[in-house]
């Protein structure tokens, strides 16, 4: 198998089969139903007396000569070309018969005929210039019924003789291997050129290119949840402040109402602050996760120290003196009011009263001073605790913010890396498709070069003479094939 043969077999299996089939005198007649196929075939079969060729007509099968039957009522359309393409895949010569010319004689027939020829040439340039031969099956039948010389002249007039002669010429031409080969080569060359044209025009890299543009113009940046962190921090701080205020007011109520002994206050305060610390820790855990990643697990708030000891100070002494003097005065007043007491008992009474009063006054003052100290201590402790809590919350928020920021940066980096990878993939795909396309075009061009040195676009260099109908001569009448000429 030669290179040309291989190319032909791959590109044009029908044509290749034609090359390897012995020539026959069969003509395939095709057309859209309703164009008078049957009567035309009958007339063609009846018209011939050239038995040497043995012309036969079939309605289907793969034949080297195809007769496309169309009628004068309209110009060729997609339907007719569909029929022709289906029938003429392995054809060497196509002849077109324009039937029913008696329906629209004269100018109209000529217009339709020229238009059909032009459309046929544009649709299938590899067949060369296809002759469109006007014929009237009706007139042919009439001529056949008349018989004789008149009938023969009328038969020539009807166009049936021209048509049969053209078909005979076509069949004779297809007996030559050179002609068949040239036709198949022309058809194959057209197929390859079509493929190259479609490969050049259809760009299958449009989708990946669009995708690449979209990806490369997309913003690479991580959305950080920092605003959420600061929002949560504000809320937790506010909550802690409200709770601490409630603790402070409860403490002062307890102290003022005297419900609880001042000595029990530190324990109570520690418990209350512990509750606040636990609530804040819960809220933080709920919003920011169980624990910080950086090991910032210091206790929430600050431990409550012991309250200050009571101290004997200047006020004690002052109260002592005041109590002694007031008590002595009271004793003196009592002894004087009794009157009959002797001096010694009266003095003793004064001293006793002075002592009792001094003791009571000093005790009262100490209690008051202690309560006051405890109150101040409580408010101080709460303030210290608030500061500690505030510091803890801020530290925690900063920590969370830092963690989120790092995670977001990490995600952004990952996304950017994925994007770069994806773009590289798309570039690779575009290169691959371009390469495949170029390779296919190169393969097509190689095949085209294998087929021979014909210039591109000159279809049917070898088939051009086939379609031309030799002027038939009937009983000495020279008949012009150009009926309107």
């Amino acid at each position: 198998m030669t290179g040309v043969d291989d190319v032909l077999r791959r590109w044009n299996p029908h044509g290749w089969r034609r090359l390897h089939t012995p020539p026959s005198a069969t003509v395939r007649v095709v057309g859209v139903p309703g164009t008078g196929l049957g009567s035309l075939i009958t007339e063609l079969e009846e018209a011939g007396d050239d038995t040497s060729i043995g012309l036969r007509f079939v309605r289907d099968g793969d034949c080297a000569v195809v007769l496309l039957v169309t009628d004068v009522s309209a110009v060729l359309g997609r339907t007719e070309f569909g029929v022709l393409d289906g029938a003429a895949r392995g054809a060497v010569v196509v002849v077109c018969a324009l039937t029913a010319v008696d329906l629209r004689p004269g100018q109209q027939e000529q217009v339709i005929r020229d238009r059909d020829a032009e459309l046929l040439h544009r649709h299938a340039p590899w067949f060369g210039r296809i002759d469109v031969l006007p014929v009237s099956a009706h007139a042919a039948a009439h001529a056949r019924r008349l018989g004789g010389d008149v009938g023969r002249v009328l038969a020539v007039e009807s166009g049936i003789v021209d048509l049969r002669a053209a078909l005979c010429a076509a069949v004779t031409a297809t007996q030559s291997a050179r002609v068949v080969r040239a036709a198949v080569l022309a058809r194959t060359r057209a197929m390859i050129l079509d493929e190259i044209r479609s490969l050049r025009t259809v760009d299958d890299t449009v989708d990946p290119r669009t995708e690449r543009l979209r990806l490369s113009s997309a913003r690479v940046g991580a959305q950080r949840a920092r605003s959420e962190v600061s929002h949560a921090r504000t809320e937790i701080l506010h909550d802690a402040t409200v709770r601490l205020r409630a603790v402070a007011s409860r403490m002062s109520e307890s102290l003022d109402g005297g419900v609880i002994a001042p000595d029990d206050i530190p324990g109570l305060l520690a418990a209350e602050l512990g509750d606040v610390a636990a609530a804040v820790a819960d809220a933080a855990a709920q919003r920011w996760g169980p624990t910080s990643a950086s090991g910032l697990d210091e206790p929430v708030g600050a431990p409550v120290p012991d309250p200050p000891e009571r101290a004997g100070v200047f006020e004690d002494r002052f109260a002592l003196v005041l109590g002694v003097s007031a008590g002595a005065g009271l004793g003196k007043l009592l002894s004087t009011s009794i009157g009959w007491l002797p001096v010694a008992p009266a003095f003793a009474l004064s001293v006793a009263c002075g002592g009792v009063a001094a003791w009571w006054l000093v005790r009262m003052r100490r209690q008051l001073a202690h309560r006051d100290r405890i109150r101040r201590w409580v408010s101080d402790e709460i303030a210290v605790f608030r500061a500690a809590l505030d510091r803890w919350i801020r530290a925690r928020a900063f920590d969370v913010d830092d963690r989120l920021g790092r995670a977001a940066d990490e995600r952004g980096r990952e996304r950017a890396a994925a994007l770069v990878d994806r773009i590289a993939e798309i570039d690779e795909e575009i290169r691959r498709r371009d390469g495949v396309r170029r390779a296919r075009i190169a393969a097509c061009e190689r095949d085209l070069a294998t087929l021979g040195p014909f210039g591109t676009g000159t279809f049917g260099a070898g088939t051009e003479p086939i379609g031309r109908v030799p002027r038939p001569s009937v009983d000495g009448f020279e008949v012009s094939t150009d009926r309107n000429g």
Partner: protein, 230 residues
């Protein structure tokens, strides 16, 4: 109103200047409610657009002959024979310059997709074929796929007429019934437009004052076919 717009002597006073009346209605509504006014203008533009007639068929079947014939005959028919069946206002607007728009489209042309046959009226041109009763497959497919308001089939040449079934009679070009059928289709399309116009007016959301004007216009034209009186 209507003083300056008296038309021909044979046209009744109440039927003159429907277009002017509509524009006046739109202007009034526009002054009361600009949004509704715009909607009225749009509806008028749709109602007053030309009736589209597609003359379809395969190449070479004589579509331009049919077109030339219709250009003359439709006007004549609308003027004379349909006069008694057709409201004067419909006839008047059809006879105006932009009334009917004829276009020729080609079916089954090589390398071109088939046109969509969706005009108000489709006149399908069939050829007389060697086998007289047969219809070309492309013609049959196009007639089946067409979705117009109204379709009329015609044979341009003088030959035998193919058979498209009982629902779609095929006319001859020189048959007056063909002209009558086309004219009736065009008038029907126009009537449908006026009905749609009235329905659109009824559905336009408008302020109460503009609504009153619209309702008054609709009350004056209950069928939507005899124009809208201000």
């Amino acid at each position: 109103m209507g003083d300056g717009d008296v038309g021909d002597g044979d046209v009744g006073d109440g039927d003159v200047g429907d277009g002017d009346r509509r524009r006046r209605l739109a202007a009034t509504v526009d002054g009361l409610d600009p949004v509704a006014g715009r909607a009225v203008h749009d509806a008028i533009a749709r109602a007053e657009g030309p009736v589209r007639v597609q003359i379809a068929g395969r190449a070479g079947t004589g579509r331009s002959t049919v077109r030339e014939h219709l250009e003359v005959s439709v006007r004549e028919h609308l003027e004379t024979s349909v006069r008694e069946h057709l409201e004067t206002s419909v006839r008047e607007s059809l006879l105006s310059s932009a009334g009917v728009h004829l276009s020729v489209v080609t079916v089954d042309a090589p390398d071109v997709p088939d046109p969509v046959l969706d005009a108000d009226v489709v006149v399908y041109v069939l050829p007389t074929r060697p086998d007289a009763s047969s219809v070309h497959p492309a013609d049959r497919a196009a007639v089946v796929a067409a979705n117009p308001g109204c379709i009329v089939a015609v044979v341009a040449g003088g030959g035998a007429r193919p058979d498209l079934g009982p629902t779609l009679p095929v006319h001859a070009l020189d048959d007056p019934r063909f002209d009558a059928a086309v004219a009736e289709c065009i008038a029907g399309a126009h009537r449908r437009r006026l009905d749609v116009f009235a329905r659109t007016l009824a559905e336009i959301p408008a302020s109460p004052a503009a609504r009153d004007v619209l309702e008054a216009a609709l009350d004056d034209a209950p069928t939507g076919t005899s124009g809208v009186h201000p």
